[in-house]
């Protein structure tokens, strides 16, 4: 399988009021087939970067390209091929699970047959099929997270961007999600996700970037970065610098 860049972040910076830089000259490339981990402590700039990639946050400096399309200049094309799963998904609580999934499927113009197949497949995997007729307001945090994941997978995106995807998931769901992530990447998609759980990142990712105070302080393949050490040791060492 030939690989190509799916996500390219070039010199991206985000400045908030009074000149505070939440992201400072961030550059990285995620290739198709990559499971790219984005790690850093709280407030390091992970969510700011992620929210800019998925078009939720405006930015003025730098460039973000998704499959060659600029997030700034061609946001619609970028969104069509991207899926985003936030860390704490606030979903439409007045819709039932199935209504929400149909809403997302309608937006991505997925045929009735395809959506039916995919919803059934993923809802069965995450064991929430029976709850799809209930209001999202009645869901637990984990169930909302599962629904957000299904809604992200429903249009078979080329890039999935996830902010702390394993928070709130039960061990079985977390295991299943890891399997789905692998399958998607084998089929040519790319995954970019932030996490605090370094063990997960070490086992799951082929590439990692460490962000500190808005700057990428280390990035590359897992082997290049860790050089025989554990990711935890590498992370703590780089944090101490």
């Amino acid at each position: 399988m030939t690989t190509k860049p799916i996500l390219e972040i070039k010199n991206y910076s985000k400045t908030y009021g009074e000149g505070k830089r939440a992201a400072d000259n961030v550059s990285l490339t995620v290739m198709s087939g990559d499971i790219y981990g984005f790690i850093g402590h709280n407030g390091a700039g992970k969510s700011t970067t992620i929210r800019a990639i998925v078009g939720v946050l405006d930015f003025t400096e730098g460039e973000i390209l998704i499959d060659g399309h600029s997030v700034k200049d061609d946001p619609m094309e970028c969104k069509r091929i991207t899926a985003y799963i936030p860390d704490n998904p606030d979903l439409y609580e007045n819709l039932t699970g199935i209504q929400y999934l149909n809403f997302i499927a309608d937006v991505f113009e997925i045929s009735a047959k395809d959506r039916e197949e995919r919803i059934k497949k993923y809802a069965d995997i995450f064991e929430i099929t029976e709850s799809l007729g209930d209001l999202i307001g009645s869901y637990s945090h984990g169930m909302k997270q599962k629904l957000a994941i299904i809604s992200a997978l429903i249009h078979e995106p080329k890039l999935i961007v996830m902010d702390e995807p394993f928070v709130g998931l039960d061990p079985k769901a977390a295991f299943l999600l890891k399997g789905i992530m692998h399958d998607m990447c084998e089929n040519g998609a790319a995954i970019f996700f932030s996490t605090h759980v370094l063990d997960v990142a070490e086992k799951l990712c082929n590439k990692v970037a460490i962000i500190k105070k808005g700057r990428i302080i280390a990035s590359g393949t897992m082997e290049e970065l860790t050089e025989g050490h554990s990711l935890e040791e590498t992370f703590l060492e780089s944090e101490g610098d």
Binding site: E77, Y84, D90, A105, D106, V107, F108, E116, E130
Partner: protein
């Protein structure tokens, strides 16, 4: 206990305070928006105050100034009652931060009472703007003793308390009844609407009752209305006697009963506050869904469906959004039930002319109700914390707004057209005119939708804690509602007069043209903003 009350109240006020937001906000754009909001509010306060002073001038010129305190008390009591009723669900019950507050070491009664006090403090500036300006007007003409002014100010603080408590208690009863049902939202919405309609008809009943006193002049009639209201609702006469006769007993009664009622109401409400909120916040999960055939819909209709579910999922949104439609339905229904002869008789009784005189005002009269609310004036803000969904989806902003506008058209047009058809039948309007009125009705709905969307998008506020902040108090809703209502009222009168000199069909065609142009310009503005 006292300090905990104050602490909680202070924090509730701080959490929604625009001043606090302004102080800590770093974004210049947001800061200027806050200032803009303040300026708008001040203009609104000044308008209210000017209106109140003008009313007092009217009373003064006709030597009826003694009726001003009663009128002041009546207006504040009615407003406090209505506003509180619509706010109770959302402020007192089913509010977002309920879990957080209840997990803190506060007594249930403290939480309930503080939420009420929060509602009181927030609405106090409105009531004070009325009472203080009427005090000025009263002062100019009645020239009371100096001590009346501080007394008026102190009593003005107590004046809204009793109607607010009564209204909150009715809201509590509705919440308590609804909490027992599976479809809580639906029951709560229906009960709220029934109560509002009940109040509306009671008002007519009372007006009719007062009219039987055969009071002639309008001002005298209003003064008599106030007197009669004071006999039914005692706090009005307590306030009037306190400031006109310095009745010590009346002062003590107004202050004492307000405090006592507060204690009693929150003793009762506090008793079942936790259980009501728990039931209102819990959702029944059937967990019995079986995968069925799914259907593909277009993006616009997917947004319309989402908007529909958003509205029906919220009692507050539903009661505010649908009340005008219900009134239009009742108006149309009444016209059909009464029939042309009875309507003709009623019109002739009110104005010395046949029903043909009022025909050109039919679309505007129905629009007065239907146009009371435009869902796009608040729905962009209602996205709130869900905004990430539409932001991260491949939906153009213009498509999103078109969906929101289409939803409002679906919501308003059927009621508008029904009201017009029914009134046209009731007034024996010629076919050609009826068709033109129907077209005007549609155009009015389009204008209301597009203009509402301009207001809603321009004044989008996503960081709200309670949906009341955007449905009832949002800048977008205010800017949409007030001018729209005033213009409609004025136009109803103007059109009736113009109808006497211009051909009805020509007049209607002219209105279609004007409102059509306004709707088009508003729509273009929405499309421009969405870029």
């Amino acid at each position: 206990m006292k300090s905990k009350n104050l602490l909680l109240l202070k924090n509730l006020l701080l959490s929604t305070s625009q001043i606090n937001k302004y102080r800590h906000c770093k974004d210049k754009k947001k800061k200027s928006k806050i200032i803009g909001g303040f300026v708008g509010m001040i203009i609104l306060y000044l308008m209210i105050m000017a209106y109140c002073i003008a009313t007092c001038v009217g009373y003064g010129e006709y030597e009826l100034i003694e009726a001003a305190p009663g009128m002041c008390a009546m207006v504040i009591s009615i407003l406090a009652f209505i506003f509180t009723f619509f706010k109770t669900n959302g402020y007192l019950f089913n509010f977002k931060e309920y879990d957080m507050l209840m997990s803190l070491p506060f007594k249930t009664r403290t939480v309930a009472a503080c939420k009420f006090l929060y509602m009181y403090v927030n609405s106090l500036p409105w009531y004070l703007s009325i009472s203080l300006s009427m005090m000025i007007g009263y002062g100019i003409y009645a020239k009371p003793a100096m001590y009346i002014y501080p007394l008026w100010i102190i009593l003005a603080l107590f004046l809204p308390v009793i109607p607010m408590l009564i209204s909150a208690f009715i809201g509590f009863l509705i919440a308590k009844v609804s909490a027992g049902f599976k479809k809580k939202n639906l029951i709560q919405t229906v009960l709220t609407m029934i109560f509002v309609l009940f109040c509306f008809f009671i008002r007519f009943f009372m007006e009719d009752m007062f009219r039987n006193n055969k009071v002639q002049a309008t001002l005298e009639e209003m003064s008599a209305t106030t007197d009669n209201a004071g006999k039914i609702y005692l706090p009005i006469s307590w306030f009037t006697n306190a400031v006109t006769k310095t009745g010590i007993l009346d002062i003590l009664l107004l202050c004492g009963i307000s405090i006592l009622l507060f204690a009693v109401v929150f003793y009762i409400v506090g008793g079942s506050y936790r259980s009501i909120n728990s039931k209102l916040k819990s959702h029944a999960a059937a967990k019995n869904y079986k995968m069925t055939k799914q259907k593909k819909t277009g993006i616009l209709h997917a947004i319309v469906f989402k908007e529909w579910k958003r509205m029906t999922g919220s009692t507050l949104y539903m009661t505010n959004g649908a009340m005008g439609m219900v009134f239009a339905l009742i108006l149309g229904g009444a016209a059909l039930v009464l029939g042309p002869d009875k309507i003709e008789e009623l019109i002739v009784k009110a104005i010395p002319a046949g029903s043909s005189l009022v025909q050109p005002a039919i679309p505007l009269a129905v629009y007065f109700f239907v146009g009371m609310f435009s869902s796009p004036a608040c729905s962009p803000s209602l996205e709130g914390k869900n905004y990430w969904i539409v932001q991260s989806l491949p939906i153009h902003k213009k498509t999103l707004y078109q969906g929101k506008m289409l939803f409002n058209m679906y919501l308003t047009v059927p009621f508008m057209e029904f009201g017009i058809i029914a009134l046209c039948i009731g007034t024996r309007t010629p076919i050609i005119d009826t068709i033109l009125y129907l077209i005007l009705g549609f155009v009015l709905c389009a204008f209301s939708t597009a203009w509402g969307c301009v207001c809603g998008v321009k004044h989008m506020k996503l960081d709200w804690e309670n949906e009341i902040e955007v449905i009832k108090q949002g800048t977008g809703v205010m800017i949409y509602l007030l001018p729209n209502m005033f213009v409609s009222m004025i136009l109803i009168v103007v059109v009736v007069f113009l109808g006497m000199v211009i051909e009805h069909s020509l007049l209607t065609a002219l209105l279609i043209l004007i409102y059509g142009l306004l709707a088009f310009l508003s729509y273009k503005k929405v499309m421009k903003i969405s870029k």
